[in-house]
Symmetry: C2
Subunit: 139 residues, 2 copies
């Protein structure tokens, strides 16, 4: 399994299927969020337990969230993907009550690898679109 296949399996099993017990298989014991604006853990290095807490935080807000990978590029120690995220905001986001609105947005993530495990990411996505879809901003 090359790094792109490994990353695709991680996105399917951990993010789309919410298999928490697969975190230790895919994720390095030290996972650093290099850039991910407005992510509460941006700049931090997460243990497996903290990584699972971050998953719970995301799934609480968008229980049906789903990533479709639209392209992938593999380098020696990185795999970059572009994606479409869909989901329904049926749980709280921070202190805000659920809007029950659907979102669909595009983004791009560079995943970093260390010793064949995923050890961090650098990410940008269209947050303005999400804010508009949730009704936080006018269109």
């Amino acid at each position: 399994m090359n790094k792109e296949q490994f990353l695709r399996a991680f996105m399917t099993e951990v993010w789309n299927e919410q298999q928490f017990d697969k975190v230790a298989f895919y994720v390095h014991h030290a996972y650093t969020i290099h850039l991910d604006t407005a992510d509460p853990w941006e700049g931090q290095t997460l243990s497996h337990e903290a990584f699972k807490e971050r998953l719970r935080f995301s799934f609480n807000s968008f229980p049906d969230m789903h990533f479709d990978i639209t392209s992938a590029i593999e380098e020696e120690n990185h795999v970059a993907i572009t994606w479409i995220l869909t989901g329904t905001n049926s749980g709280k986001i921070g202190g805000f009550p659920p809007t029950n609105r659907a979102i669909k947005t595009t983004g791009l993530t560079i995943y970093h690898f260390t010793n064949q495990k995923i050890s961090g990411h650098t990410q940008v996505f269209d947050r303005l679109k999400v804010a508009q879809q949730l009704g936080f901003l006018s269109n």
Copy 2:
């Protein structure tokens, strides 16, 4: 001009048209290369003069290099783009003589902004494809 338009103009004028005199307009006085595997300046923070030296280094190897932007995503302080790079290796790369072969590859760059200027990047591209196209590796 929003950040995406600014970035697109930078890619056209500075990279595709090789207008060195536009560097000061687009580029922050401290430009950091956060991630760009095999870039000689990876991890460094460049002045305008060092940025121009890096341009010269690239244009020496691929005088006709051209970026086509295939998608763009804007955040508050970042613009991410996917691109297709084409060019002909008609100059030296490091100590290697020109191969005179054409390359075409895909990549993805997150550009970082500080005070309305471009202050760095984080990049991944398909370097394996380039190595194959230049004949450094078998297909």
